[in-house]
């Protein structure tokens, strides 16, 4: 028997099937319609993994689009789900930082993966995955190029509170002839500093998990460690922790 966790984020849909021991997963872009894409990815995932509906105990959704799916049994917030998912992958962690498409978050956990306190970014996109995407696009690059270019670069100062102004800042730096890698490194540093202040707000210190799609960037991970006095325990798959947590909670 399985429980299924489905995390419909603004950028990607993550699905995990958990059997009490092991898990299978998939990740696909959300596209324009979270609701219909969610249903489509779900049925494809089940057939690809030969899981019949009779073998599913429960479907737990999370993420912005999760609430709108009509085939789910329960909805849990991303905060709770990321906390649990990270704990399952690494029970030693004390906190979680997550950079999502729309929100960046920090959660303080107890020894069994329950959230004791949390905080999210204020009403502003700075420091979110969306922020990085917009600014990376302003450089004419794709997200998968960031590490290669930012590695060993000298971060320029990019400190605007607002994503739109930060984009303007990037354009100004391009006009001034700054190197792409240095600009990118500057953007990553500004995200690292913001995530550090979020973690500080809920008194997270020591060993933490870093999740969300953006967490795949090695340079950003290093910067979070370097600038925020945190030790990041690398997870085997940081993008699926919300969906995994949802599946585990449902089990």
């Amino acid at each position: 028997m399985y429980t299924v966790g489905i995390d419909v984020g603004s950028a990607a849909i993550k699905i995990v099937a958990f059997d009490g021991n092991d898990y299978k997963y998939t990740i696909e872009p959300t596209g324009w319609s979270p609701k219909s894409k969610g249903a489509e990815v779900y049925s494809r995932f089940l057939s690809d993994n030969k899981i019949s509906s009779g073998h599913i105990k429960k479907v737990v959704a999370t993420g912005y689009g999760g609430r709108r799916l009509d085939f789910i049994d329960e909805y849990k917030s991303e905060i709770t789900c990321h906390g649990r998912g990270c704990h399952v992958l690494d029970p030693s962690i004390k906190g979680v930082i997550d950079i999502g498409g729309q929100d960046s978050k920090a959660m303080l956990l107890n020894g069994s993966g329950k959230v004791l306190d949390f905080t999210l970014n204020d009403k502003c996109a700075a420091g979110t995955g969306r922020f990085l995407q917009v600014t990376v696009n302003a450089l004419g690059l794709d997200m998968d190029q960031i590490d290669a270019l930012a590695n060993n670069s000298k971060p320029l100062e990019i400190d605007n509170m607002c994503a739109v102004f930060a984009e303007t800042e990037v354009l100004n730096l391009i006009v001034q002839g700054a190197k792409q890698g240095d600009i990118l490194a500057g953007l990553l540093k500004s995200i690292a500093l913001r995530i550090g202040s979020l973690a500080g707000k809920v008194d997270i210190e020591g060993e933490v998990a870093f999740c969300g799609g953006v967490a795949q960037s090695k340079v950003l991970t290093q910067m979070v460690e370097q600038y925020c006095n945190l030790k990041i325990n690398k997870l085997e798959n940081p993008q699926i922790t919300g969906a995994l947590g949802a599946a585990v909670i449902g089990f």
Partner: protein, 375 residues
């Protein structure tokens, strides 16, 4: 189940506008005000109508931004936008406006507003430990009295002022009794309805009618308490920047997600109701004493707010606190950090404005708080 008497409060603000227009046509003076710091007893003792002014809707903000910076608190922009667009009947009918220096943004906005209406802006002593603050507040109340005489041609006698103090004390006591009904679990009145009753108070044209409707409502709520099965939902206290009718999105989100908004500590809630004016003292001194002790974040330090919040958490069996910070409201924003450390309950701060653009983000914060409460 919703009390039937709420229908009166649903239409109270709109119908009061018509009544105030009629009174105004008969020659009655009208004085508008914005804030819980305004000593409305003084206005009413002059024989003028005291009326709250519109300030909590998104609609006039675009017009306000022609003169005001965009990254300013929505409450200030909305107040000013209503004033310059004539979209608030209460502002339109007001002969003069009583305002106060609760923050730098408001203070400077009032300078612009003074071109539209005669205004008296009361200077609030911002320090809660300043030894001369009572004298200062009293002088400001005397200055307001002179303004009312000079601007509206209305005299205030000590007897009349004492009479109004008594009336307002009675009203405050009654409203606290109403709020206290929400000590029951489940709460008999929703947070958005309670807001409607308390917010409506500053727009009412007829005190007796309002009071008798509050009493009717309380009777109905007693019945609801007696006839409702116990169902649970996390009991939430809302605090922070004022939440007015028209911008209840956070309260609505809490209730949609199954929470109970038990009461608000904010100035749109019980902040101005918990303390009475001393009826045995010189009325000017008594007014100064009451109003200077309102636990607003504009005073420093504001430890009374932490004490009041903790007291309410205990008395009302609160499971969690939602602290609303309006965007660019620096005092409440900074104080949120202190409040979180000072209170004994799960806590989340929500920074927002009057637009609907962040409803999903707000829901995420609230459902996370609920899940944290459930453990």
């Amino acid at each position: 189940m919703r009390a039937k008497t709420m229908e009166y409060f649903d239409s109270l603000i709109a119908e009061s506008a018509v009544k105030i227009k009629e009174e105004k046509e008969k020659g009655k003076k009208v004085m508008g005000y914005y804030c819980v710091f305004s000593p409305v007893e003084l206005i009413e003792a002059s024989g003028a109508f005291s009326v709250g002014l519109c300030a909590t809707k998104q609609e006039p903000i675009a017009a306000a931004e022609k003169h005001l910076p965009r990254n300013l608190c929505p409450l200030i922009k909305s107040s000013y936008g209503f004033a310059i667009t004539d979209k608030c009947p209460y502002f339109f009918f007001a002969d003069a406006v009583m305002a106060e220096t609760t923050c730098d943004g408001k203070k400077k906005m009032y300078e612009l507003m003074a071109d539209i209406k005669p205004m008296v802006v009361l200077d609030i002593p911002n320090s809660s430990v300043y030894e001369k603050r009572k004298q200062h507040w009293m002088d400001e109340i005397y200055r307001a009295k002179d303004f009312i005489k000079g601007q509206l041609g209305l005299d205030i006698t000590e007897d009349k002022l004492k009479e109004k103090i008594k009336e307002h004390n009675e009203e405050r006591k009654l409203l606290m009794e109403l709020v206290a009904l929400n000590k029951s679990n489940p709460t008999p009145i929703s947070g958005s309805d309670l807001l409607k009753v308390l917010w409506g108070r500053q727009f009412k044209a007829d005190r007796e009618e309002y009071i008798s409707k509050v009493k009717d409502l309380m009777e109905e709520l007693q019945d609801i308490i007696a006839n409702t099965d116990k169902v649970k939902g996390p009991r939430i206290l809302v605090t922070g920047s004022p939440t007015g009718v028209g911008q209840e999105k956070v309260i609505n989100a809490i209730e949609e997600l199954g929470g109970q908004v038990v009461l608000q500590e904010a100035c749109s809630g019980v902040k101005g109701l918990v303390d009475l004016v001393d009826e045995d003292k010189n009325p000017y001194e008594a007014l100064a004493e009451k109003y200077m002790d309102i636990p607003c974040s504009c005073t420093s330090p504001n430890t009374r707010r932490f004490d009041l919040t903790n007291k309410l958490v205990e008395e009302y069996n609160i499971d969690g606190i939602v602290d609303i910070t309006l965007q660019a409201c620096h005092t409440y924003n900074i104080e949120s950090y202190q409040l979180k450390k000072a209170v004994n309950a799960p806590f989340t701060q929500i920074e927002t404005d009057y637009s609907q653009s962040d409803v999903e983000q707000i829901k995420l914060r609230i459902s996370s708080l609920f899940e944290l409460i459930e453990g």
